[in-house]
């Protein structure tokens, strides 16, 4: 009995250790010497489309073109409606080792994926692989070389000293203006619009006539300034002010006096009704198109929804007003040194046990950067291609030059928005990426949402309010836990996976049994000796 019990314990112990070994994740990916073109490989590609059928088709065409080049590889597309859902699904699938192979995502999100060992494939070595790297000799398609990717965009995919993604598309935010109404009020739009200009004109637009209607539009609705992404609004204002947001390694700096000052300014104009947000009121483009808004800040990738002749719209044709749309950089504090955010999806690949599968993923990822995919996708919205090779291609140049020739592919507002980013790429910036940076982004926007709502609800926004706001937001987004944790330490992955819980429980049970047996044995021996 005693021997059997000992054997049983040893067996459980060995099994538990085996379990531990299995939970370590895949080995780091090493580029195979040769691609196995006879091996059938299936890879999954998770992507997001902007409610745009053409984008879906571009993905589908890219897949079929790629499969034609590599008949042994099958790519399964899964489309999402927003990046948040992709992020959540990836996090869930890391625990079960069922991540997709290729995924359109944001660097902020990748930083969290990196909390698992060898989950995301670092690209430093494979990018420069002579045969299968960017522009490699063994590729069956014309991949861009590393130096043909816009350096600024590529740098955005590097954190913790490694490249973990490639840029896929880039956009920024811009200021869409109802020029007709601005001029009607006696103003001229400067080349670089300042925050002061926007606030001044917005307040002026609230003047009402004796009939109780707004003078500028003759309607009973007017929200002069609407911002779509308040996360970006706060981030860009902070950057323009050169104030603290976070350090590169994730120390939170946003809760400072400059942020407070910015919030007071926002609250002042929310109080009069000159300012609102997408979350509070709705899409800026809907109001702008209906002549109920003067300044709308939205992504360049939303340009097809903006303007009197916008090809996309959620409002009925009878609500549209005729006006001239002007496109400018987002408002600035210092017009001599404009700054704006760089945004847009990147693409990463996940590690797998089969190196041929990872290689297939890497090839498909590169294929997404070929001219045909890049130009086709960029033309669907106010995106720009991430490679100079595509930006300088004759097809893309032709597209740009045809701006305004129709209200569909060559819709002028869309191409103006794209040009704005192409011409100002050097003025763009990104915020530091670390595990938790996505939460900090949310927190930045939440503060603007809160003060705006509070003013609309006639709450008092004063020092006590600001102190409480900082404290509440800090706690809500768990930023107060950030300053003591660096990348890889914060448990933003939620509760432990079931497998880990079972494993830990088994280990505890083994130790309890071992101790119990040891005590039992000692007592028995003592009694026997006594």
């Amino acid at each position: 009995m005693r021997k059997a019990f000992s054997l049983f314990l040893v067996l459980i112990f060995v099994l538990a250790l085996a379990g531990c070994h299995g939970s370590k994740g895949s080995e780091p990916f090493v580029m195979p010497e040769e691609q196995d073109l006879d091996k059938k490989i299936e890879i999954s590609f998770w992507a997001k489309n902007d409610t745009n059928k053409t984008q879906t088709r571009i993905y589908e065409k890219a897949i079929s073109d790629f499969e034609a080049l590599y008949p042994n590889i099958k790519v399964n597309l899964r489309l999402y409606t927003d990046y948040g859902r992709i992020y959540n699904d990836v996090i869930t699938n890391i625990a079960t080792k069922t991540t997709p192979n290729v995924c359109i995502t944001y660097p902020d999100h990748i930083a969290t994926y990196l909390t698992g060992a060898n989950v995301v494939v670092p690209l430093d070595d494979i990018m420069t692989d002579e045969r299968y790297g960017l522009g490699g000799s063994a590729l069956r398609f014309d991949s861009p070389r590393k130096d043909e990717i816009v350096q600024k965009f590529l740098n955005e995919c590097s954190f913790e000293g490694h490249y973990y993604a490639l840029p896929y598309m880039r956009s920024t935010e811009c200021l869409y203006i109802n020029k007709t109404y601005v001029e009607k009020m006696g103003y001229e739009i400067p080349d670089i619009v300042t925050w002061d200009f926007v606030w001044e004109v917005s307040e002026k637009a609230l003047e009402k006539g004796e009939d109780g209607l707004y003078k500028v539009n003759g309607q009973n609705i007017m929200i002069p300034f609407i911002y779509k992404s308040t996360d970006n609004m706060m981030i860009q204002m902070i950057k323009q002010k050169e104030s603290g947001y976070s350090t590169e390694d994730g120390q939170i700096e946003i809760f400072n006096d400059t942020t407070k000052e910015l919030l007071y300014t926002v609250s002042e104009h929310a109080r009069t009704g000159a300012f609102s947000t997408f979350k509070i009121s709705s899409y800026p483009g809907n109001f702008l198109n209906a002549g109920q808004c003067i300044f709308a800040v939205d992504s360049t990738a939303g340009a097809t929804w903006i303007g009197t002749h916008a090809p996309n719209s959620d409002i009925s044709p009878d609500k549209f007003r005729e006006f001239e749309t002007e496109v400018r950089l987002i408002p600035q504090f210092d017009p001599s040194d404009p700054k704006m955010i760089s945004q847009g999806p990147s693409v990463c690949i996940f590690n797998k046990d089969d190196d041929q599968e990872v290689l297939a993923s890497w090839l498909f990822m590169q294929f997404l950067l070929t001219n045909e995919v890049q130009t086709a996708y960029a033309e669907t919205e106010g995106y720009i291609p991430v490679t100079l090779k595509a930006q300088e291609s004759p097809e893309y140049r032709e597209y740009i030059e045809a701006a305004g020739t129709d209200d569909a592919l060559h819709y002028d507002v869309k191409i103006k928005a794209s040009n704005l980013l192409r011409e100002n790429t050097d003025r763009t910036f990104v915020t530091p990426v670390f595990n938790g940076s996505a939460s900090l982004r949310d927190a930045a926007g939440q503060m603007i949402e809160n003060v705006t709502k509070s003013e609309r609800r006639k709450e008092k926004v004063d020092e006590a309010y600001m102190e409480k706001l900082f404290k509440d937001v800090n706690s809500l987004y768990r930023l107060d836990q950030r300053n003591t944790a660096k990348m890889g330490e914060k448990s933003e992955l939620g509760k432990l996976p079931e497998g880990s819980v079972i494993l830990i429980t088994a280990l505890i049970a083994i130790w309890v049994l071992l101790i119990a047996y040891f005590v039992y044995d000692r007592v028995k021996n003592r009694n026997g000796n006594g």
Partner: protein
């Protein structure tokens, strides 16, 4: 003793029946709670307190839920109510809740946001109100968010991205896939309206989702749903009967 026990039992039974048959009055409000008329008159961005009954709920997501509720006089759409998954499960259709929040408006949809709630005693399911005749009139918005029915509407064609006429689209422009919202057009009295099966409310495994996938242009249909608003009437349909 035996007789006394029998009489007591009968009395108890009668009292129980009486209690059961005491009808819930969905118009009755507790002290400090607004009537629907008061809620309706309240300005946007003011605090409101209502007693209402859960009629349906969208899927729970990140500790928030969006709930369709109604009382005897009107309906209240509760947007992103902070709620635990455990409490979410308790909000069965009919459950009476007291909601304190802010009256808000988003693209024409009047809703209660930043709310908190408590479950109260009582249960009531709203009967569907026939609003067919109100389609295309200014009166329709007064029924906003209510559980309604439409009778004898005709499925009109929608245009997909290729310009083809189709009976329904996944997402408003056909850019989606199975599992996304299903949009379809209906015509009534010469006007066309866009309705949808909202996938968070009725997912792809529900009867209504499947019924929407089987619609054909020209079908005559009866439908029920919630009178949601987005830049105009935009009902979230919960049942479809093809006639």
């Amino acid at each position: 003793m035996k007789k006394f026990l029998a009489v007591a039992l009968v009395v108890m039974m009668v009292l129980s029946f009486a209690a059961c048959s005491a009808k819930e009055d969905p118009k009755k409000k507790s002290k400090g709670v607004m009537t629907y008329a008061e809620y309706d008159a309240a300005a946007i961005d003011t605090e409101v307190v209502v007693e209402t009954y859960v009629q349906a709920k969208q899927s729970w997501w990140e500790n928030k839920a969006t709930i369709y509720t109604q009382d005897g006089d009107g309906a209240y759409f509760i947007y992103e109510l902070p709620i635990s998954e455990e409490d979410f499960k308790k909000l069965e259709p009919g459950t009476k809740i007291k909601v304190t929040g802010y009256k808000s408006e988003w693209s024409g949809e009047v809703e209660i946001t930043d709310a908190k709630f408590e479950i109260e005693k009582g249960t009531w399911i709203a009967p569907a109100t026939d609003v067919t005749a109100l389609l295309g009139t200014d009166e329709l918005v007064k029924k906003q968010n209510m559980f309604v029915e439409f009778k004898g509407l005709t499925i009109a064609p929608s245009k997909d991205a290729d310009g083809n006429e189709v009976p329904f689209l996944y997402k408003w422009d056909g850019s989606g896939q199975e599992g996304d919202d299903v949009y379809f057009n209906v015509s009534y009295n010469g006007n066309t309206f866009q309705f949808l099966v909202e996938s968070y409310l009725c997912g792809k495994d529900t009867d209504v989702y499947k019924a929407a996938q089987n619609l054909k242009v020209g079908d005559t249909v009866d439908m029920t749903g919630f009178l949601y608003w987005y830049e105009g009437v935009n009902p979230h349909i919960t049942s479809i009967t093809v006639k």
